[in-house]
Every structure is written in structure tokens, then in C-alpha cells.
Subunit: 411 residues, 2 copies
DNA sequence: CACCTATTTGTGAAATTTCACAAATAAGTG
DNA sequence: CACTTATTTGTGAAATTTCACAAATAGGTG
């Protein structure tokens, strides 16, 4: 009989929907089929039993982010990735997930998608699991078809994205026209995000990154493309004109990339939000500049995410270039350094912390674990030694600038 | 008899000293002869009557600065310049100057030098004045001889100076060797000073400037040369390694140039002090850079004198160039500007003053003649509108930098 | 070691800044 | 004009910073 039943999927299905319905009827439970990024591909109809998670998935055409996150944290998705066998998933009420069974659709160790089936009025048996496994095998062909179609679309979109990135497209109106064919609701504004890895980005890595990008629902990624070391996105924030969604997205992204896939050597940067698509090129440059600056930043300094936030670091290149040309270190800094060496003191360090703390004695002293009066004393000495006035905004600006540039220069 | 006496100077004198002695004997009073810059050329011996001013002049081989200043302020030197006639000078006790008579040695309206004679036990008569005038006429030839000699020396020194300025001389030891022939006490350190006029520097202007430079005893000018619009000096401060003498000198210089000769359209800059003469070239560049920055500075900002004090303005060129290239005005500034226009406010101005006053609410408020709380309120608004933290040193640095660059950009 | 100077820390009063609140004024809108 | 909102100014208490002074400590020198 097992032998017999193992062939029930050996027929043709005219669509994924029909296939879903067939599984649903066979195993007596509502079925959803997702692609590798948890985007809904098909779902069965006439379900008697359903749950909140499934409803949201169908409504949003993707599995809600919190559900995905939960399933990761519970170790369910990793298990699905590791072994191509059906997994029983107990109820998780917090996310409205009823008891169900799932299996990954795998070809050559590569996950193409997932089949989910909710437990109806009877518990799933060993045999049900066996059948689900068979269904997953059968689904491989179906999914490959779907994916080859999307891949083709993807190619033409990538090409277009490159034309945007390189500023090849000069007619805003024409761009809008083209974009409206892909995005029914015209994007309000978008920024380029660049992810740059140290090593070459492998297919696996790309898949992981794509996975995080598409499962995250904090931003809408309009375009995505990939080069040797970098992945480039055009992202639209959910709240129009607000970077904050993008910030969350990127912070989450970095965290999850490390947590789930152990990738931590990736640098990100984001250009400015812009409502004109002619500005995509600029935004791209800006994102690259952010990464460039981050790579030079001393390790103890927090990386920048947005071009807007670079402040004077935006000019770092020009400045360092001029410094190198003139082979010039600021006389004040040199003097202090010299003094520190011959007198075995830490005045430059103290000054640095003082300036970094906005000239706040107390904070600076705390940062160095010294008494406020000590800090004050030292700053007095500094004023004497390099003949500056630490109440003068321009002098402080110049010093902090020089010090910050020195930090960058060597890297 | 007058006719007769008018020819008493028609003989040859083997030296200026002999000439001075002859005048002294004829008019019965101690005589000093100075060049156009009040440097001592010769003085009579066997003086019975003398005064403090004369003694200091002889000891220092130049008229003391305070004496010159006093004589200017009393209008005596201007009178000497205006008319080539002897002038009676009453006693001025403050500067130890006894009663005397003076005349300028003039050729074609050009002052070559001065003869001074102190009143002995008898008052000078009209006739004495006449004789002094005759002596001055005779002195023209003598001085021209002296000056053609110094001019030749001057030429070779100027040539050498140019080689220093252009970095043509590469052997520090050889330079020291050469310099020691000119300066018995080897200069300890020196800086290049550049004076740049708006118009071409005329001979008169040059003479006036040279006059001020040589009569000022606040610095020792080792070299001086002149181009179309600029005069270049190599100056040694009297207190070794201290710019302060140079500062006084320059401040005085500017003041006197305006006061005495009505020249106010001159820009000055001073490079760094350096004890190596290989660095003269650098110091020259630095001085030029100071002038360059000053010329771009908004009018309400005080000019810089020293390269050391430029601070970040040293980078202004690079920065503005980059800004122009990227056609980038800081988004924060633009936003504020826009807000100010549409809401008819002055937030950018307020922010600027706030930052210029080192984030000191009280001072900033005073500068704008508004209440402190108003200032605080406005800065709160600024923080909201452009989303910055005005307690963050880097953000403040970036803002003040941008604002300062905007000031420069347009000039 | 004694001695001198530079530095660090502690203490507390005086000066200054910050902050909340309220009143007055200005500016914009239907 | 009435009404709302944004801005300016005033007031005073609370918090913070500054400052002077003194004591303790460290470092270097003869």
C-alpha cells in the first residue's frame, strides 16, 4: 500500500494551486506553498481549519516577519534547512500559529521553498509525514518552473537597476513610466543601500542575504543586484521620507545576518532618500562613500549608516589627501604628542576625549576615570602648551578635526 | 660773506665721518647723519653737548623706534619730508631728545637721508640753518655713493633670498655658511612674511613700507624682496621661537602704514617660524595661504596673521573644491535656510551665532540681543527641524564647518 | 634621603546654566 | 475678529559647573 500511495503525486498539475489543493485533500489540512523567501506561491482552498498566521500570510502574500523570526528562534527553520524531512511544529499561540507540519522543498541541498500543512481534526501520522515528503519531492519541478520565470523578470529588472545606478537614464518621466509597470503603487522615495563583504559573495551568502531582505518587512526593496563583493539595493521606506525604517531594517539585518548565518564581516552604507529616480546614481555614490569612510574609521568608533550622518567625514578623503601632500601634521598635535612622550603624560588623549565629549569636563573625566579637577588641570596645561583657547569654537573645531583626521590617516 | 660761506662745503671729504665732523665744527654742535630709514651712517666726534636720544642712536646704529614714533606724531618727520629745509626741533624730554635742528637730504623729491645737529651752548641762527641746508645739498653725492654700494649688496642678497624662497638651495650647511657672512649672529629662527597689495606696488609705496620695516625694531628683517603686488620678508623675532614679536610688528605695521601713508588695502600673512632655512620655502607658501584665506574670509571676520592660526581654514580650498564638484550643500543647512524663508525666521543665523560662541547660550543670546530663553527655544527648534543633537561634538563640528564653508564659497 | 615641582584628588562656596512654568506677544487662519 | 499656535520674555528654583584652596601623591634631582 505504501508503495502504491507513494505514486499518488505522479500526475500532472496544471497549476501550483491545484497541487496545493491536492495535497490538502490527501492529508486533510490546509496547505500553503512558499518560495525560499517565504513569499506565498500557492494555497489550498476549502479549508475548514485555519489559523491567524495562515490568514496573514495569505493576505500579505508573504509570511509575517514576526512569524519568521519566531520560527527561527525556535530552531524550526534551521531544522527545515538541515534536513529535507517533514517537521512537526507544535502550536505557538503568541504568533497565532496552530499545530502544523512543514517540509522544505530541496534540490541538491538548495532550499527552493516550503510546504506547510495545518493539522485538522486528526493528528498527523508517520504516513502523513511520508506523503508530505513525497509532495515536496514532486514540488521541486513545479518550483523550478516558477523560479525560472521570475529569474528572467529579475534579469531585466537588474539591468534596469544598473542603468539607474550608472545614471544612464536621463528622462524622469520615462523612468516613472517604466517603474509603474513593476510597482503598481509608485514609490514615494527611495535610497540606495550597499552591502559590501570582505570576501566574494557566494551564492549561498547571496541567498541568505536575499532571504533576510525579503523576509524583512521594514522596507520595500524595489531593486536588488549583486557584484563580486557587494550587493546593491534600492529601498523604499514604509513611512515616506523617513530614514528610520531603513535604520531599523539595516540594524536588524546586520544582527540577523550574524545570528542566523554567522556572517559578520559585512559593511553597509545608505545614500540619501530621494523622490527623483534620477538621483539614484547619487544615492549610490553616497552609499559607497559611507562604506568608504567606515572602512577607514578607527575600530572603536561606531560605523555610520547614512550619508546624511557622515558630517565632516564626508570630506575625509580630500582632507587626508591634502595632509599627505603637504606632509603636514598639525603643529599643535605634534607639540602635544612630543610633550606626552618626553614627559610621559597623556595630554593628547585627554584633549581628544575632552573634545569628543563636547568640552564637558565631567563627562570627559568620567570617560577617562579621572577626577574632574584633574581634567580641568590637564586642559589648562594643554592651553598653555599649545597656546590654544579651549573656549574658542573655531579652535576646538580645528583641533577635533585634526585629531579625527589623524585617526583616519593611517588606515 | 654769505656767498663766501656758501662754498665752504665745496671740498672733498674722504669719508662721511669726516663730513660729519666738518659740519659739527662749523655749526658747533654734535652731528649725526642717517639714511632714509634712520639707520646711522655717520656721526661727529668730540661732542661736548649730547643727549640720550643721540647716544642710543649711536649705540644701536639706528634711531630708537620710540624716538621715530614721537617725531612722527609731533609732525616733525612729515615736515622734513615735505620741504627740504632745515627744521628747528624743541626739546622733547620724554624721549631724551635735546633741542636740535634737522634737515632732509633730498634729491628729486626723494629723501635719501637726514642730518641732525644738536644745539650746543648757543641758539642756532638763520645762518646756521642756511649752512645746514648747504650741507644737506653736499651730502646728496655722499649718500648716493653709499647707497649704490648697499644696493649692489642688496641685489645679491635678494637673489639669494629668492633661491631660499623657491627651495633652490638644498644644503643646510652651505646655507648656514653663506648666511653667517651676512649675519654675524646666526639667526635662531625665522618666518616668511608676505605683504600683498591690491594694486601694483609703486616705488614710493615700497619706500614707505621699507621705512616702516626698518624703523620697527620689533623684528629683525633678514631679507626683503618685492614683486609686482607683494613684498616678501624673512623675519627673525627678537625673542627666539616666539611669534608674538612678529604679531606686534605686523599689527603696528598695518596701523602705521594707514596712519602715516594712508595705505590700507594691504593684506599680510606669516608662515611658520622655523630654525631650518630649508623650510623658508614652506614658510613662504604658508604665508601665501594665509593671505589667500583672508581674501576669501567674509568681511566681518577678523583676518588671520599666522598660518598656525588658520586652523581648519587651511583646508578651505580642498573642501570648497569638493563641495563645488559634488554640487553639494549640506542638507541640514539647506533645510534650515528653506525653513527660514518659508516661515520668515532666523534659525540659521541663530544657529551660526550659537556655534560660533562655542555653544554658549548666554553669549550667543547677547550677541543677537535676544533673551537667553529665546535662544534656547530656537536651538530646540533647530534640533527638531534638522534632527541634530547640539550636544554632540561631531555634529556641531560638522555644522560649524559647513556654515563656515558656505561663508567662503561665494567669495 | 631630602627637597622641589608637577600632578592628582578632595572639599565646598560662588557663579552659571538649565529647566519648568507662566505671561506676553506675534502671526496665521477661518 | 475670535481663535489657535508659535514665539519671546520673565522668574525663580534646582542642577551643574567653575573656581580657589588644600592636602595627598608622584617623579625627578642633587
Amino acid at each position: 500500500m505504501e508503495n502504491n500511495l507513494s505514486h499518488i503525486f505522479e500526475r500532472t498539475f496544471s497549476s501550483l494551486e491545484e497541487f496545493a489543493d491536492f495535497i490538502s485533500e490527501t492529508l486533510e489540512g490546509p496547505v500553503t506553498i512558499e518560495d525560499r523567501n517565504h513569499r506565498l506561491l500557492a494555497y489550498s482552498t476549502h479549508e475548514k481549519y485555519t489559523d491567524e498566521a495562515r490568514v496573514s500570510t495569505i493576505i500579505g502574500r508573504r509570511v509575517p516577519e514576526k512569524v519568521i523570526n519566531k520560527l527561527w528562534r525556535k530552531g524550526i527553520i534551521p531544522t527545515l534547512h538541515e534536513k529535507a524531512e517533514p517537521v512537526q511544529i507544535p502550536e505557538i499561540t503568541e504568533i497565532g500559529l496552530g499545530s502544523r507540519m512543514a517540509v522544505s522543498i530541496t534540490k541538491n541541498n538548495d532550499v527552493l521553498g516550503y510546504i506547510w500543512i495545518i493539522e485538522g481534526n486528526r493528528a498527523f501520522t508517520e504516513h502523513d509525514a511520508f506523503l508530505l515528503k513525497e509532495a515536496a519531492n514532486k514540488a521541486v519541478t513545479q518550483l523550478q518552473q516558477v523560479q525560472s520565470r521570475t529569474k528572467e523578470q529579475e534579469r531585466s529588472r537588474q539591468e534596469y537597476f544598473w542603468r539607474l545606478l550608472t545614471g544612464d537614464l536621463q528622462n524622469e518621466h520615462a523612468i516613472q513610466e517604466q517603474l509603474s509597470t513593476w510597482f503598481p503603487s509608485m514609490p514615494n522615495s527611495a535610497a540606495v543601500i550597499v552591502l559590501e563583504a570582505n570576501e566574494e559573495i557566494t551564492d549561498t551568502m547571496d541567498k541568505n542575504i536575499t532571504y533576510l531582505i525579503t523576509t524583512s518587512q521594514k522596507v520595500k526593496v524595489l531593486f536588488k543586484t549583486r557584484e563580486q563583493h557587494t550587493i546593491i539595493l534600492l529601498a523604499e521606506p514604509l513611512q515616506p521620507q523617513s530614514k528610520e525604517g531603513i535604520r531599523w531594517f539595516l540594524q536588524d539585518f546586520m544582527l540577523l545576518l550574524e545570528e542566523r548565518f554567522g556572517v559578520s564581516t559585512i559593511e553597509v552604507g545608505c545614500g540619501r532618500l530621494n523622490s527623483s529616480f534620477m538621483a539614484v546614481k547619487d544615492s549610490y555614490m553616497e552609499a559607497m562613500e559611507v562604506i568608504h569612510v567606515n572602512r577607514r574609521l578607527p575600530l572603536h568608533r561606531k560605523s555610520f549608516l547614512f550619508y546624511d550622518e557622515l558630517g565632516f567625514y564626508r570630506y575625509a578623503d580630500s582632507l587626508i589627501k591634502q595632509k599627505r601632500q603637504e606632509n603636514l601634521t598639525d603643529p599643535a598635535i605634534t607639540t602635544l604628542e612630543q610633550y606626552d612622550i618626553t614627559h610621559n603624560r597623556e595630554l593628547l588623549k585627554s584633549l581628544t576625549v575632552f573634545l569628543q565629549n563636547d568640552g564637558n569636563m565631567r563627562k570627559a573625566a568620567n570617560a577617562l576615570h579621572i577626577h574632574v579637577n584633574t581634567m580641568a588641570y590637564r586642559m589648562n596645561r594643554v592651553e598653555e602648551i599649545i597656546n590654544v583657547d579651549l573656549n574658542n569654537a573655531y579652535q576646538k573645531l580645528s583641533l577635533l578635526l585634526e585629531i579625527s583626521l589623524e585617526e583616519l590617516k593611517d588606515r
